[in-house]
Amino acid sequence: MEYFVILISAIFVNNIVLAKFLGICPFMGVSSRLETSVGMTGAVAFVMVLATIVTYLLQYYVLNPLGLGFMQTITFILVIAALVQMVEIVLKKVSPELYQALGIFLPLITTNCAVLGVAILTIQGKYNLPEAVVFSFSTALGFGLALVLLSSIREALDMVEVPNGMKGIPIAFVVAGILAMAFLGFAGLV
């Protein structure tokens, strides 16, 4: 498969949040401010690519030879959890501001289904390793795109009077819904 096709598909057509419903919690959680959403995108991209590489190797060099396909979930998530924890520890040291900003969402990257989802999808999609890297990276970009758009819109909405009942999460979901609708326009591109 061409890398370009993977890229377009993962960012626009099969956007991880808007079409595949993965990673919604951080999508909603950190999208109230643009700044944090950019940081989150970086963190997710980093973890996602790293996790994909490790799980890829694990799948093809440990699980498959041993016939342990059913262990996919548990091994993958263990690897991801450990990875995220490492990132967290390192980040706290290297960039305390970013650590403060991402707050509780760093540990939540562990439970960001997008990371595990991508790891599993990579295997299901039968990508080879370079493709898997491109795929996971562009998925993260897609996540970032959706996140940045949503957060910029939410910041703009902070300035206007959103009806009480709709404030916060509901209106964010409405925006996400309309975004998802608009992104359907990319259908068929690949």
Partner: protein, 192 residues
Amino acid sequence: MAKKESTLLSMFLALFLVTLISAIILGFVYEFTKDAIAASRAAKQTEALKKVLPPFNNNPVQEMYKKAVDGDTLYFFPAREDSVLVGIAVNTFSPKGFSGMIRIMVGFLPDGTIKDVAVLEHKETPGLGEKMVRSKSNWSVQFQGKNPKTYRLAVKKDGGDVDAITASTISSRAFCDALERAYKNLTEGGAK
């Protein structure tokens, strides 16, 4: 809450033990369900075979043979009743679906007439292309009893005889494409 100190040993032990216990449990659960899973997988295939073929009493899976076409593989399942060939089911595919690959099991009678079709795998849009699945709509019934020799396997828009699923010409086209591929390869020397 008394927090456990994070020392190398305690960390190592805790995680090691947790994984060890999990592994043991999982291993056994896997052993226990392995056969059931295999059975249900096999059941799905024979289910599909039974659906698209006239009654048979051999095991078509055992007699299965493959043919590599268009970058993928077709699987042929000859069905016999008392060693008489009563039909051949083809596990066929089309990559032209609205959202990618579609796999269909299609059963042909020995004269090439389609007995029935069953969708094995697809990613089409719920409510649109998904209607090719029998449980969702009766659309695919139209193929029953049609012989591709006379019946043009193409949607009406393209000059064929097939009524497309409304608003899902693409899926319908892919469906026809899959059937056409099965038929062509079957007649081109697949048939015995």
